[in-house]
Structures are given as C-alpha cells and as structure tokens.
C-alpha cells in the first residue's frame, strides 16, 4: 500500500501543479488581454507618418481609451525577428503597431472604432486579441479542468485502493477481528486499529510520493521557465500553493484513514 499511495501522491502533486499553473497562465493572459487592443496601420512609400498620426489622434480622442502608444521600430523588429530574422530598415514595409489600453471597466465600441479608423487610414486593422486568445484560454481552462479531474480521480482511486486493501486486511485478520469483537471490543476500537495502520502507511507512502514529485516538479518548472516571458507568462507558486502541495500526503493519508475506518465499521455492522 505505501508504494501505491506514493504513486497517487506523485500524480496528485503533478496534477495540482498543472492545474495551478494553467489557472495562473490563463488568468494572466485573460487579464493581460482584457482592455487592450492592437491597432495595425499599413504604411506606404508615400506615407510619411500621416496615417499613423491620424489614427493616434482618433484613438486618443475616443472615450474610454486610456492610452495609445505606437511601438518603436526596434520593438517591431524584435517582434518579427524570430520568424524572418533580422531586418535592416526599409527591407520590407512593416505596418506600424499601436498598443491601445482601455480605461478600467470601459468598453469601447470596436465596430464603430473600426469604421472610423478605416476612414482615417484605409487598411487599418483593429485586433482585440479575442480570436486567438479565446482559443488559447479555452485550451488552458480545459487543461486546468483535466488536471483537476485527474486530482479527483487520484482521490477516488486512493479511496478504492484503501477499501480493497482494508477488506483484504479484514479477510486476512478475520480471526483477530472476531476475537477482539467477542472479547468486548467496540467497533470503533477495531476500526481504530485499521485506521491507524492505514494512516501510518498512507503517511509513509505520501512522503515517498512527495519526495519523488518535487524533483519532477523542479524539472517541469525549469522547462516551463525557459518559455517564461515569451508566449508563456511567468508562473510562480505562492505560499498557499506550496502548502497545498506539502499537505497532499496528509490529505491522501487522512482519506485512507477515514476510508479504512468506514470500511471496517461497515463490515463489523454486519455481524452481531
């Protein structure tokens, strides 16, 4: 049983860590994208910045818009460098990007804004990030839900395992249980013997599982960290997260103890 519990705790810790990470990533993406727009203004050889200025003026005059700042050339070059390599100025016409931030709680009318920006500078595109972010967020939420489901399954499997183990134990120790029963042991006394044993084995297995899970978590964290600041936002676990992870063996062991107790009480209730 200890190794089975160790395996369960190992899975539970990883599932919890995944759920917590996905929750954080999704939350940050959602928060980061909410109230931001990217406006793309096409440039042409004839344009010496008038279109950009017109769009900026229009944006800054729009109610609910807190700021509208064009990205510098260096920032633009850095954004496209991973895909097409370093560019010299003037190699290809690169549309200008404007980072627009709405005031908290404000919801600018995007359709109206698109029409007005299109009129001021034809070809201007307004991107509220919803199209791609929505799919990513859905993916993150699905991963989070899956991890939570795995966590729930781990607990269910743990309960099932303990029930099976306890019943086997009852079968093996049938003689001892019956003797204790006949010499006047309360059901709770007998159940306590099994529950105590289940708790001890659960804690032992849980500690092993946690010891195995922590290095695995460190490796995954390191891999994850490489992407931090890029596509993936940085994920850090709070004290509460670490407390929850540290408490996993105890939760699983206590679940095992309670399960053993109820299993024994259920079995004993069927005899006089």
């Amino acid at each position: 049983m200890p190794w089975l519990v160790a395996f369960m705790v190992f899975l539970a810790v990883l599932a919890f860590a995944l759920a917590a990470s996905m929750h954080q990533v999704a939350g940050r993406w959602d928060k980061g994208a909410r109230g931001t727009l990217t406006v793309q203004v096409p440039v042409s050889a004839a344009d010496d910045g008038q279109a950009l200025a017109a769009v900026l003026a229009l944006l800054r005059a729009t109610p609910g818009i807190a700021s509208a700042e064009p990205l510098a050339d260096a920032q633009l070059a850095a954004l496209i460098e991973p895909w097409i390599g370093p560019l010299a100025a003037g190699d290809i016409p690169i549309p200008r990007l404007i980072d627009v931030r709405a005031r908290p709680g404000a919801r600018p009318d995007l359709e109206s804004l698109r029409v007005r920006l299109g009129a001021a500078a034809p070809g201007t595109v307004v991107d509220d990030h919803r199209a791609w972010l929505g799919r990513l967020l859905a993916l993150m939420r699905a991963l989070e839900a899956t991890a939570l489901a795995v966590l729930g399954l781990v607990l269910v499997v743990t309960v099932g395992t303990v029930i099976f183990t306890t019943r086997t134990g009852l079968s093996i120790h049938h003689e001892a249980v019956e003797v204790m029963h006949l010499i006047g042991a309360q059901d709770s006394y007998i159940a306590r013997q099994f529950a105590g044993r289940a708790l001890a084995l659960g804690l032992k297995g849980g500690a092993i599982g946690l010891m195995l899970a922590l290095p695995a978590l460190a490796v995954i964290g390191a891999l994850f960290g490489r992407e931090s600041g890029g596509i993936l936002p940085e994920v850090t676990f709070s004290f509460l997260h670490w407390t929850a992870i540290g408490a996993m063996p105890l939760v699983v062991a206590l679940t095992g103890m309670a399960t053993a107790r109820f299993t024994v009480l259920g079995s004993l209730s069927r005899i006089l």
Partner: protein, 288 residues
C-alpha cells in the same frame, strides 16, 4: 423482564437456534445458571455445545425464545450495548484463538486495553496473572513458540484478566494430557470459588464424573440434563459449603475468599507463589 429472573447470571427460555435456513441446532433449550455456579456442558459432537456457548458469549442471538445474560434479554439489547456485556464474559476458545501477531503479554492485556484500562494498571495486572499461570518468563513470546499447554494458559489468562462474571470454556482439555486437564479444571474451580460462574463444554466424561459439578447435557440440540429454572443455583443452606467443597458446586458466595488456598492442595501450583495474593486481591475487586 421479571425481577425473579435477575437472580440468574444466565437464563434460557425455549431458546432455539438455526443457521440460515438450516435445521434448528438448538431446540427449546430452557435452563438458568445461578451466580457462582459451576457446570459442565456435555454432549456428543454435533449436539449443539458450541452453538450454545456461542449464544452465551454473544456471538449469536437465538432465532427464537429468550436468552438473558446478567438479567438482560439479549434480543432486546441494541448492538452498541453488547460489547459491555461481552466484557463480563470470559471465553476460553476451543483452539485458544490467540492473536498470532501479539506477544503473550499483549494477548493477555488485550481485554484490559479494549476496556480502556490505564497502561500502568495493565502492566501490573498482566504481569501478576502471567506469573500466576507460570508464564512470567514467556511474556514476550509469540503464541507460535509456545507449547499447547502454555497456549492454553495464555488463553485462560486472557479469559480471566477482565474479571468476568461468567467464564466459558470450549473443550479446554481437548489438547492436553490428563494431568494438565486436571490442573486446568482445578484452576477453573479456584476461579469459581472466587465468585465466577463457570460453564465448561467437554467430551471428557471421566473428568466430569470425577469433579462432579452440575451438568448440562445436550442431545440433538435438546437439553436433556440440567434442571430448568435454576440449574446450579448455589446451595446457600447452612453446611452446604462443606458439602459442596469436593464438587466445587459454586457454593461459595461471590467474592468469598474462603477456600482459595485449596488451589495448591489440588495440585495447581502457582509458578510464583508470591504473586498469588495480589492476584486474588485483584480478582476480588470485581469487574471494572
């Protein structure tokens, strides 16, 4: 329950028992055991001795009739109240049923621990009793390393450690030689003199005749010997104690220390004589 019935430790009234849908293994069993009585339960194999003992140690309830222990109708008792009643019954099982994973000490201590007795008291009582039955040097031994006779003494020690009001033994002489059988019987008689009601199921007819106690005889699940409504009731008439002395017919009142010393004269020697007095005192304290 009638007040008159409270005088008896055990009362059976037309008790019947069947296992599942099988035939009745006990039929219309009616008898009563007075406090402090000593009885043999005899009968052929399959006559129902073990089933009757199971009713007595509350492993089963009768399928019909009344079984009352210590004045309480077993059928009317809620399940949670049964353990307290069981603690007043000491049982020496036929195959001893010692717990293999526990030491001699822990096997004997089990009833006290179950009853919630303090650790220091457990240590003192168990040590004294094991000395009394000659197993002080085997306290840490596991049952599998003990001889049949030693295991038997552990089983008896476990049965009496809780100072039961009723002591039951199922074929306690089945695995020992005649000499040891007689020693064990004298031990039971000694406990009986100290007030414990004793019922011993046995095949050993010569032993039954030799000791001459009251007898409950079963044939085909029916009680054919043992007067209903007071079998073994202690004879409290003047002079009866002496008359019962040789038979040990439970004549001494519970708690009477009168003839306790005869344990030596009858051949059961305490391995540690100095331990005998405290043990006697401990037994006389009564059930906690």
């Amino acid at each position: 329950m009638k007040k008159a019935a409270d005088d008896n430790i055990v009362r059976f009234e037309n008790a019947g028992l069947r296992y599942g849908f099988g035939p009745e293994v006990l039929q219309d069993v009616t008898f009563a055991l007075a406090e402090g009585s000593f009885h043999f339960l005899t009968g052929e194999s399959g006559a129902g001795k073990s089933s009757l003992l199971k009713l007595l140690y509350l492993a089963l309830k009768p399928t019909r009739g009344v079984v009352a222990l210590f004045g309480r109708d077993v059928a009317s008792l809620a399940r949670p109240s049964l353990p307290a009643l069981r603690r007043q019954v000491g049982v020496v099982f036929q195959e001893f049923r010692l717990l293999a994973h526990l030491s001699t000490f822990d096997n004997v201590a089990l009833p006290l621990r179950i009853a919630g007795v303090r650790g220091s008291e457990v240590n003192r009582n168990v040590t004294e009793l094991l000395a009394w039955v000659g197993l002080k040097d085997q306290m840490k031994a596991r049952p599998s390393t003990l001889s049949g006779g030693q295991q038997q003494r552990v089983a008896i020690a476990r049965a009496v450690i809780g100072r039961p009001k009723l002591l039951l033994a199922d074929e306690p002489t089945g695995n020992v030689d005649d000499r040891m059988a007689l020693r064990l019987m004298h031990l039971f008689e000694e406990l009986n003199r100290l007030g414990t009601t004793v019922v011993i199921a046995t095949h050993n007819v010569s032993l039954v005749e030799r000791l001459g106690h009251g007898r409950l005889h079963l044939e085909g699940g029916r009680l054919t010997l043992g007067a209903p409504g007071g079998a073994g009731r202690p004879d409290k008439r003047p002079g009866a104690e002496d008359a019962a002395g040789s038979s040990g017919l439970g004549a001494s009142a519970p708690g009477s220390p009168g003839r306790g010393a005869t344990i030596d004269a009858r051949g059961v020697e305490p391995a540690h004589p100095t331990a005998q007095a405290p043990v006697r005192e401990w037994i006389l304290k009564g059930v906690p």
